[in-house]
Subunit: 298 residues, 2 copies
């Protein structure tokens, strides 16, 4: 299977590494508008060769579009214009409504599979690419009824080879869900960094930074090139998520200001439920076969 | 050196493990009001034997008080009443003003060293105790001018054996600083858990939880027995930190609602500065010997 990976950063680079390791890809053609990143990716063996976008796209059996979501919107129609008619194209962006809208009337819409493999780190560029980044994480596939069956099946097979269970939903559902589960945690970290950076003595504060602070603020290191367009495209749902979140913070603040110790303790006890939920006690993957989640084993 | 560890949970248990490993402690007497925890700690070899509070305290060269901060306030005067006159007592609580007030007129105030070793995990109880939890983390020592020199020196030596640099500050400074750098991240995680738990379909949401969500929400698993009293004792400064934080979140929300893409990007770019700061580019530990931070090497 000949792959073109458009965008050789953290996500594109990590996918290329694993798809080569699992032998899903027999050849990987890389393309990146940043020639330094292209050179690094070639040197790291992420890509077998580097081509222009046009050349990479026209040769490939599968084109993986792993660039910031604003660039996906502007480039995806062009990519569909230039693929072989039998090729499968998939994007890996964190938002989906604008991307879906950009290709909804394209004659090769059926060749495109909108996907969101839900994994990443706070780092970026090809040097951040790591193996096993996606293993056992969920991949969201959006609007799968718009895909021609052979292209959907090939995308599913690819994510199966990465060890990812697949969840199917509409672009709108994915943007709403992801606003809470992924974009909101980024916003909370960005704001925590800004709040702590704004106060008094930076040197002393950061000498004191404990593991708790470091993990809570980790996502604040994430790249603006990637995250500013995500926030922008999903701004209505992220603003909604922020409103809900701020209400919950206000509840903490009010319990402190009103000297309501019982309420404070209740809020902490309720938050603790996240442990059981994250450990899978409500997981539809393990408990409910009638769910929209479809689980693949490798 | 004969140690009494009062409270055999995550912090007391982890300190005992390391102080035995480094041979700072030759004997460790444990005491815990929870007899099941005491039994587990004994079985794990955290303590050599279990005694009542009175017996543990009267024999020890050093008494480490590792119980929730409300219990420290109520028990510390009693402990000082029952120690040998040459013994050193230290607490490891995350707040300090109320604890300082509770012993300010005690005749053995000079035997007490108020300390806050800044490390932990979201888990609790003796089974959560781990080695090397404190290594290279900061320990705050408060109001050191209130300590008799030999007791301060012994506490410093103990933290040196754990590999911890020491920062000296007043109880008030520590409570303010810690409100931002430790208690606020806990509040942001508790509120994030509550916000996400409050919305729609818990099963689907949590199947989608990525590494980013998991690290941002990790602290929300923390024990209410430990954290509710911390929030309570430090409620004025934590409410202040929450107000600052909510203002920064509102800035994000406003940039989205006002379609101000440039401002949104600025906020993310500013948050990214946390990376350099956490990697030590402003660290007073490495750059400024005239700081209040005193660095020990093992």
């Amino acid at each position: 299977m000949k792959l073109a990976v458009i965008g050789l950063g953290l996500i594109g680079g990590s996918m290329a590494k694993d798809l080569r390791r699992t032998r899903f890809a027999t050849e990987i053609i890389g393309s990146d508008t940043n020639s330094e990143n292209a050179r690094i990716a070639l040197g790291m063996g992420i890509a077998d060769r580097i081509e222009s976008l046009d050349n990479a796209v026209k040769e490939a059996d599968i084109v993986i579009v792993a660039i910031p979501v604003d660039k996906i919107v502007s480039l995806l129609p062009y990519i569909l214009d230039h693929i072989s008619p039998s090729a499968t194209v998939l994007d890996v962006g964190s938002t989906k409504r604008e991307i879906a809208a950009a290709v909804k009337d394209h004659p090769l819409r059926g060749n495109f599979v909108a996907t969101h493999p839900m994994s990443g780190t706070e780092n970026s560029g090809p040097i951040a690419a790591i193996e096993h980044l996606f293993e056992s994480k969920i991949c969201i596939v959006c609007d799968h009824e718009k895909c021609r069956p052979q292209h959907l099946a090939l995308a599913e097979k690819m994510y199966q080879s990465l060890g990812m269970p697949i969840a199917y939903m509409s672009s709108d559902e994915q943007d709403h869900t992801t606003a809470f589960i992924s974009h909101l945690p980024h916003a909370t970290s960005f704001a925590l960094a800004n709040a702590v950076l704004a106060i008094e003595d930076r040197n002393i504060i950061f000498d004191l930074a404990s593991g708790g602070f470091q993990s809570t603020v980790r996502l604040a290191k994430s790249s603006p090139q990637m995250w500013s367009p995500i926030f922008w495209q999903n701004r209505d749902y992220i603003a909604e998520a922020l409103e809900v979140y701020i209400r919950h913070l206000e509840e903490f603040k009010e319990s402190l200001k009103n000297n309501d110790h019982d309420r404070l303790t209740e809020l902490i006890v309720n938050a603790n439920k996240i442990r059981g939920v994250l450990e899978g006690e409500n997981s539809s993957l393990t408990k409910n076969e009638e769910t929209i989640i479809k689980f693949y084993t490798k």
